[in-house]
């Protein structure tokens, strides 16, 4: 197992809010593999005040992704320079949930939050795919191709929405087909959601660059 294997595993971990891999966002500050198979991952975020719930999800998902690698030893994931880093790192380190990280400050776990943002991400991705097909109302998922389409399939599977090639290409956040008469409205909403995610991703990239003195790279 090499660092590249670990980075590939971390590439399957998405920022739930931005719907982009944490590796593409350059949130992985360092990654080391010892001879024993022990893995040490350091994560960094654009600001010390990034939302604790999303920060926790990325750290916990990163640990799970690395633990799934064959032959892996002890796994340490540390979120650096964050104002709730101590709470998050302690909980993630012992495989505890978000509620255990912040006792008394939550009403449950983070499943509902993650699901909400998967639905937003699905709408945003579809917004970019609408113009790639001639007849969106009758298009099938199999008609769509490219990275956005692949991610739509992943999101649909995660949300238990039909992701077969025969399924409707365009669905609302709740998984129901977008009727022909609603396409114009859906396109506007999807464009707005995509713009929001893209703008947030832009702000996050810019802040991370300033915070860690990094050079600009293509998004």
């Amino acid at each position: 197992m090499t660092e590249d294997d670990v980075l590939a595993a971390l590439g399957t971990v998405y920022d739930p809010e931005l719907d982009e891999p944490i590796t593409a966002l350059r949130f992985v500050a360092a990654c080391e593999v010892a001879d024993s198979g022990a893995v040490d991952v350091r994560l960094r975020l654009p600001t010390p005040q990034c939302a604790p719930n999303f920060a926790y999800l990325m750290a916990a998902d990163a640990r799970d992704a690395v633990l799934a690698l064959p032959g892996v030893g002890e796994v340490t994931v540390v979120l650096e320079d964050h104002y709730t880093g101590a709470e998050i790192n302690a909980a993630v380190g012992r495989g505890a949930g978000f509620a255990e990280a912040f006792p008394g400050e939550t009403a449950g776990q983070l499943g509902a939050l993650r699901e909400l943002f998967r639905r937003k991400a699905l709408v945003a991705r579809q917004g970019r795919l609408l113009e790639t097909v001639a007849e969106p109302a009758s298009a099938r998922l199999g008609d769509l191709s490219g990275p956005d389409a692949e991610r739509c399939r992943e999101l649909r599977r995660a949300l238990a929405i039909d992701a077969s090639d025969e399924a409707p290409a365009f669905v609302r956040g709740d998984g129901t087909r977008v009727p022909a008469g609603e396409l114009a409205r859906f396109a506007r909403m999807a464009s707005l959601t995509a713009t929001s995610l893209e703008a947030n991703g832009g702000v996050c990239r810019s802040l991370l660059q300033v915070r860690y003195g990094m050079e600009e790279v293509a998004a």
């Binding site: 809010e17 939302a51 943002f117 915070r211």
Partner: protein, 348 residues
């Protein structure tokens, strides 16, 4: 006032600060948070043009003279509104209190407007403080930071029952404008702290109040825009949108401006420089010069001269009852810009 190509613009900066984040003001034991907060703001400044960047030391605390120069001499600002942020858990005398703003405002009482604040978790003493502040400072607006930490709590929602007496008090005191700033935490922590659904509820309930959502609901622009189409009394504060995107991410800025003009409309958008994160000069000049980069943005409403005038000052002047010199007003009191397209979206 800013003049360009024969057009004159009244500039009302709806979001400014006079803070003290220097180390002597950091609460013992909370230095990490106080330092992290101001360093985070300083990183945001890094998204503006390089020639406008300050050293961290200058940024932590700046003089009244520097404020005056950056706002009035260089920044084209006619009138500015102070938006306080207390953060007393982290800063001993507060980060940017109304008292501190008042010292600055006393030097220019006709050009600086003081907004107050409340924290519903302070209960009755908080209500009495709001009354005192309203009388002492003549408040017409308040700024609420829902992610503020307070005695073990990491935030609150505006539709929580504890907020109702404070909104009632605002009505009673003639405080009309409620600026809402969402942050990364609320209770419970597993909810999306940036969700604006609570603004929607209180905007419906308190029709006499105006709700200005700062940073256009960033990072929930989509939820904010959709909500703003449905609520007559909800406005978009542009602070951070201009400062954080216009220079650093011009194509995203163009899309965000296009979406805001489409969904929210030019009558409900308010310029705010968010000084001292960003100086107003480059933002005012940039907004007047700005247009969409190319024809791929042709679906969005145009950024006309009258839209610029409204957004840069006239809209906020209306909300705060600021008199605008006749030559800086629009020629006729135009009807609000048509939003037929977004109404089509709403009704379908």
């Amino acid at each position: 006032m800013y003049e360009k190509d024969g057009e004159k613009y009244f500039v009302l900066d709806s979001h400014t600060h006079f803070w003290n984040a220097s180390p002597e003001n950091w609460v013992k034991g909370a230095e990490e948070y106080a330092k992290g907060w101001i360093e985070c703001f300083h990183a945001y400044q890094g998204l503006g043009p390089p020639e406008t960047h300050w050293s961290l030391e200058d940024f932590q605390k700046y003089s009244p003279e520097r404020f005056e120069k950056d706002m009035f001499e260089d920044g084209h600002v006619d009138v500015a509104i102070f938006q306080p942020t207390y953060l007393k858990e982290w800063y001993a005398e507060g980060f940017n209190t109304v008292e501190r703003d008042a010292e600055m405002a006393a030097r220019h009482p006709d050009r600086l407007i003081l907004n107050g604040r409340f924290d519903p978790r302070d209960g009755d003493p908080g209500l009495r403080q709001l009354e005192e502040d309203a009388e002492r400072f003549g408040l017409k607006g308040v700024k609420l930071y829902t992610a503020e930490w307070n005695a073990g709590s990491r935030g609150y929602k505006l539709d929580a029952p504890i907020c109702a007496p404070f909104f009632e008090k605002c009505l009673e005191l003639g405080i009309k404008n409620v600026h809402v700033h969402k942050g990364p935490t609320i209770w419970p922590l597993d909810k999306d702290a940036f969700d604006v659904a609570d603004v929607d509820k209180v905007a419906t309930r308190y029709q006499e109040l105006n709700f200005i959502v700062e940073h256009v609901g960033l990072p929930r622009i989509e939820d904010f825009c959709f909500m703003a189409t449905q609520e007559r009394n909800v406005y978009a504060g542009l602070a951070v949108v201009v400062g954080g995107l216009m220079h650093a991410r011009p194509r995203f800025f163009a899309k965000v401006m296009g979406e805001l003009l489409f969904w929210v409309g030019e009558d409900k958008m308010l310029f705010g420089a968010d000084y001292a994160i960003w100086e107003p000069k480059w933002q005012v000049e940039g907004l007047v010069d700005w247009d969409y980069p190319d024809e791929t943005y042709s679906d969005y409403p145009r950024w006309t001269t009258s839209a610029k005038k409204k957004v840069l000052g006239l809209n906020a002047a209306k909300l705060y009852g600021v008199e605008v010199p006749p030559e800086l007003r629009l020629p006729v009191d135009e009807e609000p810009a048509s939003r037929e397209d977004s109404q089509l979206v709403e009704s379908s």
